[in-house]
């Protein structure tokens, strides 16, 4: 089992080597073989009834991240879908992509995707599921931008990446919360702790985040906007990722957690409303498209919405129908995409306005399309599986009001509205299906197209034909599929065993049949009269569009961010200092007073007595005056000399406080500084004090400087007056001579007790010397050239 899931990754690593031999065999065959063998493996599991296979590998246990795979009915269902459609798509792509393309890249991405998808559906560990989830987003990004020179491709790829990764990140949030609530990273354990989750305070947030993940991945309104742009990808990719599998990952996620959430009313409201809205909006917008792939993209959005709404209902019938429709959708939509690929390949266009009358030129493609699109429309014929699942959808919508009871008024009303919404949303499904088929295969034929168009070689037709056979076979033997495939899956989704469900073509005159007939009749009417109501699109959506919002956000992220950022980081050192100093001062003052730390009760400063402290006062006064003087002096020479006064004043203070060694040190430093300044005096730039500077600016600067000085002084005083512990300096007094062998304590500290400090301070000086030397030398050499 582990091999089946890891096989795509292993083969992906080998592809670059296989691709070397592309002149002989198309790389796609390797992928086809991979997918097919995985399909067969899962098929044997299905046939043998050997579900619940389990594989465990501890990957990062400290994080709770294990590779634990298991197959229940749901996982098996999806795994078969992924590998089965994957094999068909790989086979199709062999004929679709010429050997001149970058096949190596294409198939590596495709295999990564396939492996990731299999990982999502079989993972038991939430973080492993998440990892695979993100991998599908990334591989989808790379596949959409396969033709990376086209701007439309890379734009579409970026859009899909951003939206799906947004969902991915919220999924991470939801999963972390699930772990926190249940204390486990195993999905099976989490599912068994349903009541814990439902009663948790985090529950609303979990729902929101989980839905965000599912809706972005499964292109639900209003996040659907990435899917139409993703159609820039090569058609096999659209058929595989963007209709059959990846977009269903969001549905899978909800299905996986349905056993916990299906009882929740907020889950019902949110999921059903989103689903029905998407069902309607997708189908409504599909009729407006002119690109065949555009029609299919919106159609996919709409169909996903329909499945979503059934998940929201949460009843036995609805969940079963959801599974059924996922299967059917994969068959008919996959074959439609492949048909569009063929049409594009043969006629060179996908524009429905240019196409028409292809029925006679491409009969096989025509038959494929008619069966698939009529199945999609839900035309009541016994050979169309789409009709059967549509019926199930209507039945479950209708019966919802009879099977569930809700406590809140809104949910109660909603449940009665659901059947009407379901019919309303399905009408346009019928319309676009007709539009798609008749627009392409009947009507006038374009002259240029007539000459070259014909059915493609048989190889390209095999995959869509097989899928359409699937459409017919499923509708003829629905109960075989129901028993072996859908039922185990629905059991897993529901969380307990369902009663055996039989699918019939004919139910008698049930409400569902009436709903179907309404859809067919109204749909035909709308289709025939579409010219007359097309003006509606000017009103709705009119100028409202999710795309506009997305584009605006993207522009903001490029333009407005620059405006804001340039204002903050404007290159002015003065502003940087203003911000730094004022933030530090204000916050520190706030904390100083906020914590009542400004406590001077134990302050121990020598008193100021008048004749006695006169010398100190005088020196202090001179220093203050000099310090102010440097800031206002207009000549550099004056500034340098006045600055020296401050330093010399300090050394006099040291003398007065009987610290001759410090005084000497200070004196020599001061002298050296002044001498150095004067030495390079000639090279210093003229001082450009902006005399005309605005007064308000000056005042601001003065205030900031004063507040900073005040803050440092007050904190200093507070610190000095709250000496909470005795200083360790006693030790040095005691042992300086005895252990250090020196009378001068400061010296012993410098060279012995804390010799390491001194060593590295010397290093600092050495680095400074070398730095200045090489700065001057290198600069000098640079100027010579």
């Amino acid at each position: 089992m582990i091999f089946a899931i890891l096989m795509p990754f292993i083969i992906a690593m080998c592809i670059p080597f296989i691709a070397r031999f592309k002149s002989k065999i198309h790389t796609g065959y390797a992928v086809f073989a991979t997918a097919l063998s995985i399909f067969i493996y899962f098929l044997t599991l299905l046939v043998s009834g050997e579900t619940d296979i389990f594989y465990h590998y501890s990957w990062i246990p400290s994080l709770g991240l294990d590779l634990t795979f298991y197959t229940d009915g749901l996982a098996l269902f999806f795994a078969l879908l992924i590998s089965g459609i994957g094999a068909l798509v790989a086979f199709y792509s062999v004929h679709y992509l010429s050997k001149n393309e970058r096949l190596g890249h294409f198939y590596v991405y495709l295999l990564l995707f396939m492996g990731a998808m299999l990982g999502i559906v079989t993972s038991d560990n939430i973080y492993a599921l998440y990892s695979f989830w993100e991998l599908t987003s990334v591989s989808s990004f790379l596949l959409i931008s396969f033709w990376f020179t086209k701007k439309a491709s890379t734009d579409g790829a970026l859009k899909s990446l951003l939206i799906t990764v947004l969902g991915g990140f919220s999924l991470l949030g939801a999963l972390v919360l699930l772990q926190i609530v249940t204390g486990s990273t195993s999905i099976r354990t989490i599912l068994s702790e349903g009541s814990l989750i439902l009663s948790s305070d985090w529950f609303p947030l979990i729902i929101v985040l989980l839905l965000l993940a599912a809706c972005t991945k499964s292109a639900q309104f209003p996040f659907h906007i990435w899917l139409p742009d993703a159609m820039e990808a090569p058609t096999p990719v659209s058929a595989y990722l963007h209709s059959a599998t990846m977009v269903k990952a969001g549905l899978f996620l909800l299905l996986r957690f349905t056993p916990v959430f299906r009882e929740s009313e907020s889950f019902f409201i949110a999921v059903s409303v989103i689903g029905l809205l998407t069902l309607f909006w997708g189908s409504y917008m599909a009729v407006r498209q002119t690109d065949l792939k555009g029609i299919l993209a919106y159609s996919t959005i709409s169909q996903l919405g329909m499945i979503m709404s059934m998940i929201g209902y949460g009843t036995e019938a609805a969940l079963f129908a959801a599974m059924f429709h996922i299967l059917n959708h994969a068959t008919f939509k996959g074959s439609l995409f492949m048909a569009v690929g063929i049409i594009d390949h043969e006629t060179g266009t996908r524009n429905i306005r240019k196409l028409g009358g292809l029925w006679k030129l491409m009969p096989v493609t025509g038959i494929i399309s008619v069966l698939a699109s009529f199945s999609m429309a839900g035309v009541p014929l016994p050979i169309l599986n789409g009709f059967l699942s549509k019926e199930e959808f209507f039945t479950s919508s209708w019966e919802l009001a009879h099977t569930r009871t809700f406590s809140t008024g809104f949910a109660d009303v909603l449940m009665h509205v659901v059947p009407y919404a379901a019919v309303a949303g399905s009408i346009f499904t019928f319309v676009y299906s007709m539009y798609f088929f008749f627009g392409t295969f009947t009507g006038k034929r374009d002259k240029d197209i007539a000459e070259k168009a014909h059915d493609p070689n048989f190889g390209m037709l095999i995959s869509p034909i097989l899928l359409v056979c699937g459409v017919v076979i499923i509708s003829i033997f629905p109960n075989w599929f129901s028993h072996h495939l859908l039922h185990p899956a629905a059991n897993a989704v529901y969380g307990e065993a369902l009663k055996e469900h039989h699918i019939h073509f004919w139910h008698g005159f049930t409400p569902a049949l009436v709903m179907s007939l309404i859809v067919v009749i109204l749909g035909t009417a709308f289709y025939l009269t579409r010219k007359y109501w097309a003006g509606l699109y000017q009103v709705l959506p009119g100028k409202l569009s999710g795309n506009a919002v997305y584009r605006a956000l993207l522009t903001v992220s490029e333009k407005q961010t620059k405006t804001v950022n340039d204002r903050l980081v404007n290159g002015s050192l003065r502003q940087y200092n203003m911000v730094i100093i004022s933030v530090i001062s204000v916050v520190t003052l706030a904390i100083l007073f906020g914590t009542n730390a400004f406590d001077l009760t134990n302050i121990d400063v020598s008193p100021v007595t008048l004749p006695g402290s006169l010398p100190e006062l005088a020196v202090a006064l001179i220093m203050i005056t000099a310090a102010i003087g440097t800031t206002v002096s207009e000549k550099k020479l004056t500034a340098i000399i006045i600055l020296g006064v401050v330093g010399y004043g300090l050394s006099i203070l040291f003398v007065l406080f009987r610290a001759p060694d410090l005084a000497l040190t200070q004196l020599s430093i001061e002298t050296i500084t002044v001498v150095l300044f004067l030495l390079c005096f000639r090279h210093l730039p003229e001082m450009e004090r902006d005399i005309k500077e605005k007064l308000s600016k000056k005042v601001t600067n003065i205030i900031i400087a004063a507040v900073c000085g005040l803050m440092m002084t007050l904190v200093g005083l507070a610190a000095y007056s709250q000496r909470l512990f005795p200083s360790i300096s006693d030790y040095f007094v005691k042992y300086s001579y005895k252990l250090g062998g020196g009378d001068n304590i400061v010296n012993v500290i410098l060279v012995d007790f804390r010799g390491l400090d001194t060593l590295f301070e010397i290093t600092v000086l050495a680095i400074a010397a070398l730095g200045i030397y090489s700065l001057i030398k290198l600069r000098h050499k640079g100027e010579d050239r």
């Binding site: 990062i60 994080l63 973080y127 998440y130 990892s131 993100e134 990376f148 020179t149 790829a157 970026l158 990446l161 990764v165 991915g168 990140f169 919220s170 991470l172 949030g173 972390v176 926190i180 985090w202 490029e558 961010t561 620059k562 950022n565 903050l568 980081v569 050192l573 911000v579 730094i580 933030v583 916050v587 520190t588 904390i591 914590t595 730390a597 904190v715 200093g716 507070a718 610190a719 000095y720 909470l724 512990f725 005795p726 200083s727 360790i728 010799g755 390491l756 590295f760 301070e761 290093t763 600092v764 680095i767 400074a768 070398l770 730095g771 090489s774 700065l775 290198l778 600069r779 640079g782």
Partner: protein
């Protein structure tokens, strides 16, 4: 055995001195530098292994017993950090010859690099607040020398801002150390922790701690103190940018982690919220700059800042997940930032411009470069299975455990915007029409390999996280219990 703790500073220090003397023989300098960097890496590997398995090493410098002398403490946190530093050193020395001009190389370039590493490693292992200041000075002085190295006009213009702001913060640092000494009567970190915990007037301790917070936050480039960083980091040679981007801000973050878990956590309601809110704003404003930039180097430089925000919020959570998330993020961010700076440098050098709007289609000639840059973006955004994901997951969990939903939302949005900033650059540089940098890689080959060397570690820290993560979680646990550190250093006999 205890003497081993000096090695993280001794090896680069002596190496720096040694290569300074060979500066007029370039070939010898290069060989020596590479050799010594590898020796350092291997030694740090052994040392870290020793510390993680056998326990921490404490060295009392000059045999002066703690708390009176200076102690060097090589505990698991410091060991992992000096190891990561030595990995980056190797990549930098590998990349340098093809990027730095020969003239610059012979003007003590490698000496400055080694002395920078000395300062950084010293800051990581010292157990003494004043000694931390000294090592800050060493690394700052070396960084001043490196940022002006070459002496181009734009370099000098931006570096004067860098120098002045750092001088200001050094000044504040030394003043604050004196305040701390006034209040607690010592500068030994273990004793500071012991005394701070025993005191009954937390207000003044918190107040001086706030000043220290700002000192480290300025080095660490937290909001709103980061303005100086982006432009000054992109002016020197890419190797220097990589060293700065990977190491300097992280020293600030490390110092915050060390001092605020060990000593200054007396009033969690203030300290934790300060970390969380400064962190939140740092993430948002940092990524804003990354989005606003069109210069590939600037995009990478701005991306330093949101990462700092991630680490700060993790400290503010003050639980195992939050702290281990911060530490893991710190370790992996050092490596990935160095790699991205090197890659951006190579891209700009190949294209002859740093403006992403003037490039296109580069993937055709340089696929390796392109995919590494792309993976770099995924790492930064925290996409599994790469290293960024591990840290982010822990941080998200830590934040939820503390009930900080807003922070989680900001983290996730920031991650998305980081991804946008890098992927947008990737698309413009490597995809689209055009064929920038079509000439063969040539001398850029070794640049791509040295960045690839770092990328290997990033991938390893993601897929092989289990090798490191349990130790990181133990470190977080140990940081939450300062008593272990105190007993380790003071041995209860003072």
């Amino acid at each position: 055995m205890t003497n081993l703790a000096i090695l993280p500073i001794l090896i680069p220090f002596l190496s720096g001195v040694l290569v300074a003397f060979t500066h007029n023989r370039l070939g010898l300098t290069r060989t020596l530098a590479m050799l010594l960097a590898i020796v350092h890496l291997i030694t740090m590997g052994f040392l870290s292994f020793h510390v993680l398995t056998e326990g921490s090493i404490v060295l009392e410098a000059g045999d002066w017993i703690a708390p009176y002398g200076i102690v060097l403490v090589l505990d698991p946190l410091s060991a992992l950090l000096v190891l990561t530093t030595s990995i980056i050193l190797v990549a930098a020395v590998w990349y340098a010859p093809s990027s730095v001009s020969e003239e610059q190389e012979s003007f003590y370039f490698y000496a400055f690099v080694f002395l920078l590493i000395t300062g950084v490693s010293g800051a990581f292992i010292t157990g003494d607040l004043f000694n931390l200041f000294v090592f800050f000075e060493v690394l700052l002085m070396a960084s001043y020398a490196l940022i002006t190295h070459g002496g181009k006009k734009v370099q000098l213009r931006e570096s004067i801002k860098y120098v002045l702001i750092n001088l200001f913060s050094s000044m504040l640092f030394v003043t604050t150390v004196s305040y701390v000494y006034a209040v607690l009567g010592t500068v030994n970190m273990a004793q500071l922790a012991e005394r701070a915990a025993a005191s009954d007037s937390p207000g003044i301790i918190t107040t001086v701690a706030i000043l220290l917070f700002f000192v480290f936050a300025t080095k660490g480039a937290a909001f709103p103190l980061y303005y100086w960083l982006p432009r000054s980091y992109i002016v020197p040679n890419p190797v220097i940018s990589a060293l700065f981007g990977a190491l300097l801000t992280k020293v600030g973050v490390y110092s915050l982690i060390r001092t605020f878990t060990l000593i200054f956590h007396q009033q969690p309601e203030i300290i934790d919220n300060l970390f969380i809110w400064v962190g939140n704003l740092t993430m948002l404003f940092g990524v804003l700059g990354a989005l606003a930039s069109r210069n590939i180097k600037l995009i990478v430089a701005y991306n330093i800042i949101p990462a700092i925000g991630f680490m700060l919020v993790g400290i503010g959570m003050f639980n195992i997940d939050g702290l281990s998330g911060s530490i893991y993020y710190l370790l992996q961010d050092m490596i990935i930032k160095a790699a991205l700076f090197l890659l951006a440098g190579t891209i700009a050098s190949l294209a002859g411009t740093a403006d992403i709007n003037k490039m296109g289609g580069m993937i055709r000639s340089h696929p390796m470069l392109g995919w590494m840059f792309f993976i770099g973006g995924l790492v930064l955004a925290g996409v599994p299975p790469f290293s960024g994901f591990i840290g982010k997951l822990l941080l998200v969990r830590g934040a939820f455990e503390k009930g900080e939903t807003v922070t989680v939302i900001i983290m996730l949005i920031t991650s998305l915007l980081i991804l946008l900033s890098i992927v947008r650059a990737f698309i413009r540089v490597f995809w689209g029409e055009g064929n920038t940098g079509a000439e063969p890689a040539g001398k850029h080959g070794s640049q791509i390999f040295s960045a690839g060397f770092l990328m290997l570690f990033t991938v390893f820290l993601g897929i092989g996280a289990e090798a490191i993560l349990p130790s990181v979680q133990q470190i977080a646990d140990y940081l939450l219990e300062p008593q272990t550190y105190i007993e380790l250093v003071l041995k209860g006999d003072h």
